[in-house]
Symmetry: C2
Subunit: 140 residues, 2 copies
DNA sequence: CTACTACCTGAAGTAAACTCCAGGTCAAGT
DNA sequence: ACTTGACCTGGAGTTTACTTCAGGTAGTAG
């Protein structure tokens, strides 16, 4: 049921310092304590941390994650405003996805064409417009 | 052909300070100068900046972008090593895409179910309570 | 010549998200 | 009783990506 900070750290891959930091900035609710003052985390805290990690890996800032979490916690209370936030976020995610897709395509292309066996990699020179690489004299 | 720093700033939406900063950290090659010492940027610099902006918006750090640029500039010289970098990057982008998709799906679901008209939003409580939707141990 | 603006430089400051540190406490083991 | 190890706190330090600042120059306008 309840775990110590180091157990949660091991479980999530976050450091104990980070957990305390998240608590400080209110991303995590203050957990219960033992008689001696040690933090005791519960399943829902860990679930919350997993959510945070996922959101973070996707590029949300901690501030944004805070909003998402509050959203998650107040289902109906602020439905309208909350829906707006979610919609905005949703739009951002979609945009991000589109950008990522284009970057993926570009890397894909680069990898396909520039296999390291031929003598020249036309796409790269094309990409850069013209001669950036070989010709510059005085720079670095 | 050549533009001043403020022109490039206007064109790219970056600040002149940022352009000088990019030069300092060698993301941009040192541009030519007027007799009086002012920077003169060329088309290829702007193209490079656009590349940087795209890569940045997708979540690459400036350090990573530096690598991508060097990659782009040395087509064959270091084909092998370079291919590795690109492949790694490619894998990362794919992973990022997968994560983003899952977040998008989650937000989608949230938006669909929690329309702000009903009294309760079951998915939210589910998400937070205990049975985290897709919680799998060892997923990091 | 003076004013003004755009530009220059090196250096210091900022925000986000940690990370590390010093000094202190608590419960358990020997 | 003493030591050890995990934990506590408040605060300083780190990295990234800029931004701001202070003081100075180049070229143009009046």
């Amino acid at each position: 049921m309840s775990r110590t900070i180091s157990e949660v750290a091991a479980e999530t891959g976050l450091s104990a310092d980070t957990l305390r930091y998240y608590e400080k900035i209110r991303l995590l609710p203050a957990p219960g304590r033992t008689a001696g003052g040690k933090r005791l985390y519960r399943d829902q805290d860990v679930a919350r941390l997993r959510f945070i990690q996922r959101a973070k890996s996707v590029g949300f800032s901690l501030a944004e994650i805070g909003k998402l979490l509050r959203f998650r916690e107040n289902p109906v209370k602020s439905s309208r405003g909350v829906r707006e936030i979610a919609a905005t976020k949703h739009a951002q995610v979609k945009e991000q996805l589109a950008l990522l897709h284009s970057v993926e395509a570009e890397l894909d292309l680069l990898l396909q064409i520039c296999r390291g066996d031929s003598d020249t990699c036309p796409i790269l020179t094309t990409l850069d417009g013209d001669t950036t690489a070989a010709s510059k004299p005085g720079s670095r």
